[in-house]
Amino acid sequence: MAVATLVALSLGACGEGPGGGADTSEPGSPIKVAFEVPLTGAFAANGLNQKNGFELGLDTFGREVDGHPIEVRYIDTKGDPATALTSARQIVQEGVTVFQGPLVSSESAAVTPYLAQQKVPVDDLTLCSEVQLDSWQKNGNGYSSGWSCDHPALMAAQWAYEDMGWRNITIAAQDFSFGWEVAGGFKAAFESLGGTVDQAIWVPLNATDVSSYVSQISQDTDAVYAEMSGVFAVRFIDAYKSYGLTGAIPLVGITQLTDQSVLPQLNRDAALGVMTGAQYCDGIDTPENEEFVAAYKEKFDLYPGYYSDAGYVKAQIMVEALKSLDGDYSDPEAIAEALQSVNIEAPRGPVEISDKTHSPVQNVYICEVQEIDGDLRNVPIKTFESVPPEGPLEYEEWEAHFRHDSAGRPE
């Protein structure tokens, strides 16, 4: 109903409003959106959740702006940087108004410089690398609507030190740039407060048996901070239980550790009580999130995970920004500017894009896996409101470690 009204209103606005500048603003011409996302291969599940979220977002916020239909093309990157770059070239040559960026950080690294050179407005899922930060700070064409990789880790560290009183922590992380960035953020914030990282366990991406790493965790650490996602999250949490650590040493992790994309696969006894520092939890208690969860559950018969929220928010920001352009989509710089000026109330809370980092200033939650009506859910137990990307650190300190950690393991 609300959607119909919005569409009707925007149609009206178009009829009365002044004609746009270039040919893209002819009445009824489509707004071309390209969405690069892995739909097959190892990241297929995450990609599909993002696509589902985006579709639901378009259903909710409108598939038409000022009489211009939003035309979305999904391009399967298979999680492969070379494919992502080749498709990006083709898309740009064929003309695109808004580019929705890839999912895997290696894909982002491949397409970011090309899109900047072509001045294409791009909404990337994450800010995870120096390449992105440099490119966006210099060119202003791109930003991340999802998160900066270490953002929740910074706040998890502050919470661990101040609220929980932990002083010694073991970090377990996957041995690649995303893991370095997250573990590095946690370590920098935790040590700046006065804590100690006892041990850092690096799990290679091709590790077959995560148990050999879990069984290295020392019994006398205060807590474990884990950067694990997908298959690794499932294996890690199961192993944590079977080696007798569950209940003995608290386990805290990143959003994806117990995100709804893995939670249904987890052993109930192993998952209950696991905590995450997260930018989104499905149990957030706001009308925006309750509406989103209900709509998502109805459409896909699943609880939304982080990737679903991310897709939904991408649609919300894009539609909102396009509306502010009064039917003129000819100037990529104005579009990029509009996309980054949007302030929205998303399911994950208020989101705005920082001028400094081109990544979100948003809430960070500490969530705990609880059983609600027989389902495992992530429920916030603490909220840090509208946190800037640098978290508790000084901005310069944050940027220095962020740049360093995207290239190698934190020292």
Binding site: A42, W202, A207, T208, S212, S215, V231, R235, S261
Partner: protein, 287 residues
């Protein structure tokens, strides 16, 4: 010390799963001279079928048995319809089995999706036991090790003490002679291919409790199986046992004690074996 014992046990359970997969692989190669690159995909499919069966009937053991039988059936169908058409053409067989990998993986992705699945062990197997010395070790892994040993002994008995085993072993050594003795080599081929697939399916069901089932898990396990049979000796059953132990333990010690060199620790013995004994530790040179 405790840490070392835990890592050794971890290595042994991993070796158990590798043995189930690689013994089937090596049998098929030994008898039929086919490098079945789809063996990993059969492992993964077996795991997925076990997962769905367990969801349906709620019994883990039924799941393992159904997975094994379903994969044996698939093996029979593949051997009868596809493999037999290209007998003796090494390149065609290799490419056909590689093609099967893509078909099976995409079908699995369509049916079970890309989310990682893991099989849940029933009841007491999900618990852990405190061993003497205060080591906490999961029962499930000890059970997998036990099961691998039982299946290994059964295979040994089948190959060494029965007529079927004698035919299979004779087939490994001299196929033409077996044929000349009036034995139906065709049937032997089909049965061996089915047995290989059955072992892979059971391996997938058991492996799925420890290693998770997801796209690409088949390539991981196939790599291990290849290393195991190259170290142990292609076509040799005892070689698969020895190879699994070496690879399982080394891979685990490597990960625990020299994480930066984990893959070196795994591949270094492979290179050594290839240099010193190209036919593998227990392999025989081709007659």
């Amino acid at each position: 010390m405790n840490q070392f014992i835990v890592q050794t046990l971890n290595g042994l359970t991993l070796a158990g799963i590798m043995f189930l997969v690689s013994s089937g692989f090596t049998l098929v190669f030994g008898v039929m001279r086919i490098t079945n690159l789809a063996h990993g995909a059969i492992y993964l499919l077996g795991g997925y079928i076990a997962y769905s069966t367990i969801q349906l009937v709620g019994n883990f053991f039924v799941g393992v048995i159904v997975a094994g039988l379903a994969m044996a059936l698939l093996g029979i169908v593949l051997e009868r319809t596809l493999i037999k058409r290209m007998r003796g053409q090494v390149m065609a067989e290799l490419l056909a089995t590689l093609g099967l990998v893509y078909v099976m993986n995409d079908l699995a992705l369509a049916v079970w999706g890309g989310d990682p699945l893991s099989l849940r062990l029933p009841g007491v197997l999900r618990e852990s036991t405190t061993l003497p010395g205060g080591i906490i070790y999961p029962n499930g892994r000890m059970f997998i090790l036990f099961l691998a040993v039982v299946i290994g002994l059964a295979l040994y008995f089948l190959l060494r003490r029965t007529r079927v085993g004698a035919i299979v072993r004779a087939g490994v050594d001299n196929k033409a002679m077996v044929s000349a003795m009036g034995i139906n080599v065709r049937l032997v081929f089909t049965m061996v291919f089915a047995l290989g697939a059955l072992l892979a399916g059971v391996g997938g069901a058991l492996g799925g409790t420890v290693l998770s089932l997801a796209p690409n898990a088949d390539a991981e396990i196939l790599t291990f199986a290849l290393i195991v049979v190259i170290v142990g000796g292609l076509g040799s059953f005892e070689g698969a046992v020895l190879g699994s132990l070496i690879v399982g333990l080394l891979s685990n010690y490597g990960q625990a004690y020299f994480p930066a060199l984990a893959y070196f620790a795994l591949f270094a013995p492979l290179v050594l074996v290839l240099l010193v004994r190209p036919q593998g530790l227990l392999g025989r040179t081709a007659a």
